[in-house]
């Protein structure tokens, strides 16, 4: 579904992404891990068009999207949720989803079309069902809990019916209980929507539990790629990232 070929990016002499090639199968659930500064978020920014690579190619379902704008990439089908929940504070949850759906339907610039139309409302209610957020649909986005904001952020990405869904540290800043709740939400949405899901995560328990494929970055380079048991056995990964604590995981 998504193929990354020999991507390079450096910022003023500092190499952030070093000749990375990766592929993500359609409908798969993969994770990207690596120590801080390994270039995980940079890779996300490259894929979603927020920054442009110095060289290399990014293909979505065979189509080259390397030089498209973030907006065009979104419309091609790559949705993204952010490390810090990135929402619209003065809108209600439902309004935020409706506005996002309007964008998906290509009617967000209609000057005189009433926003509270039956169509948008029905669609947003479906989405609220999927996200299990019905009970807070009329709360302002800024007033809902941190965990709910993260789910809403994913919901905004999902409203665009993406082929690929990219989540940047979906459990960041959450307590243990909230984390596992989030993990089950992610798994549920992944199965339900049948998307290709890629996420960045620090919590190894979560990574090993749900990823079909794990990609390990270090200093901008891809050092390993495989399923949980392969990664656990990989010498380089153990040395570089997992350290001595690894056996206990």
């Amino acid at each position: 579904m998504l193929n990354i070929k020999n991507i390079n990016k450096s910022f003023g002499g500092v190499v952030a992404t070093n000749n990375v090639s990766l592929s993500f199968e359609e409908g798969s659930l993969s994770s990207i891990i690596g120590p801080n500064g390994a270039g995980k978020t940079t890779l996300f920014n490259l894929i979603t068009g927020k920054i442009k690579p110095d060289s290399g190619e990014i293909l979505l379902a065979g189509e080259n999207i390397t030089n498209l704008s973030p907006r065009e990439i979104v419309l091609k089908g790559i949705g993204r949720a952010f490390q810090i929940a990135n929402i619209f504070p003065t809108l209600t949850v439902k309004e935020a989803l409706m506005a996002s759906l309007a964008s998906r339907l290509g009617i967000s610039e209609k000057l005189f079309k009433p926003f509270y139309s039956k169509d948008l409302q029905n669609k947003s209610e479906e989405l609220l069902d999927t996200l299990e957020m019905n009970d807070i649909s009329d709360d302002l986005c800024s007033n809902i809990s941190h965990g709910d904001q993260k789910v809403l952020d994913i919901g905004l990405a999902l409203s665009l019916e993406p082929k690929v869904l990219m989540l940047d540290e979906p459990t960041a800043g959450m307590g243990p209980e909230e984390r596992w709740q989030m993990v089950s939400t992610i798994e549920r949405l992944w199965k339900l929507k049948n998307v290709t899901l890629i996420f960045i995560e620090h919590d190894m328990d979560i990574v090993f539990k749900i990823s079909q494929k794990i990609n390990v970055l270090r200093y901008g380079s891809l050092i390993a790629s495989g399923n949980s048991s392969e990664i656990k056995k990989n010498k380089e990964v153990i040395d570089a990232y997992l350290g001595e604590d690894f056996e206990s995981i």
Binding site: T48, P70, R71, V74, L75, R80, F82, N86, I87, F88, P89, T90, L91, E95, A96, M98, A99, S100, A102, S103, R104, I107, S108, E109, K110, L111, F112, K113, P114, F115, Y116, L156, A157, S159, L160
Partner: protein, 325 residues
Amino acid sequence: MNFIKFHKKDIYISIISLLILISIALFIEHPWPRDFLVSIFSFGLLAMSLNMLIGFAGMVSFGHAAFFALGAYAFGLLLQNENFVMYFGQFSIPIAFVLSVLITGLYSAIIGIICVRLNDIYFAFLTLAFQMFLYSVIVSWVSLTGGDQGLMGGIPRPPFLGIDLSDSIHRYIFCSIIFVLCIFILRILNKSNFGYTLRLIRDNSERAEFIGIRVLRVKLICFVIASMMASVGGIIMALFTSGAYPEWAFWTQSGEAIFMIMLGGVSIFIGPLVGTILLRSINDIVQIYSSHSDLVIGIIIMIVVLGLRKGLVEYFLEKISFKKK
């Protein structure tokens, strides 16, 4: 039909407001209420359209009065042109009206293309700079605009469709209709898909980009519409005073409009209009008692901004809701 059903309440409110405004003209002979109201129509449109930028879209413009002034000057200059009036005859006024709004739209599109890409501080200062550019053109191009003195010699107002705008009652009713219509249009825009897209951009323009919004394009459209609305306010003023004056393009006019919005509160749709009425009244009262009205208004602004930290209307609404609790 859906459209009418959806906006039923707003349509009723508009019709009732219009009837009240018209009855004022029919039942009160003294010109004072009409004169006061026409100035509210005019400056109210300036403030309401500025709030479309500031309140809806979060684009703080410090140069909005430029478009007010441009509308007024374009309208006046077109009608003062003998060939124009000869050619269009009794349709001169409606055509000049539409043309002036379009000219303003075009001008604002050029300014907008340069300005909407910039961050908020730059945007505020740049819109201000371009307003002062227009001001300096008006003041220095004396042969066309009359310079400091303003557009002199009166603006001809040939009757059309039985409406004679040189008659003060006709003019008042005409302005009322235009005003209510414009406010209604702003209301529809506020509740439309476009209006909510503006809220997305105001709240978080980066995220808006990532759900597929063309942020710059939407901002530009908003800028142009708001400018055209402001030009209608200017045209009403030009009709009322039968002239146009460079003060309208001066920066203080924009500062005043921003304060009107602040007084009424950005979060309430009709707030800027309330702010306009408040500020015009304060202005009129201060001018009776003091020859230094700028000083007094300046102090009032400081008190409201640094003391209340929010609009008067919002302040009182909060007081009331606290008491209820």
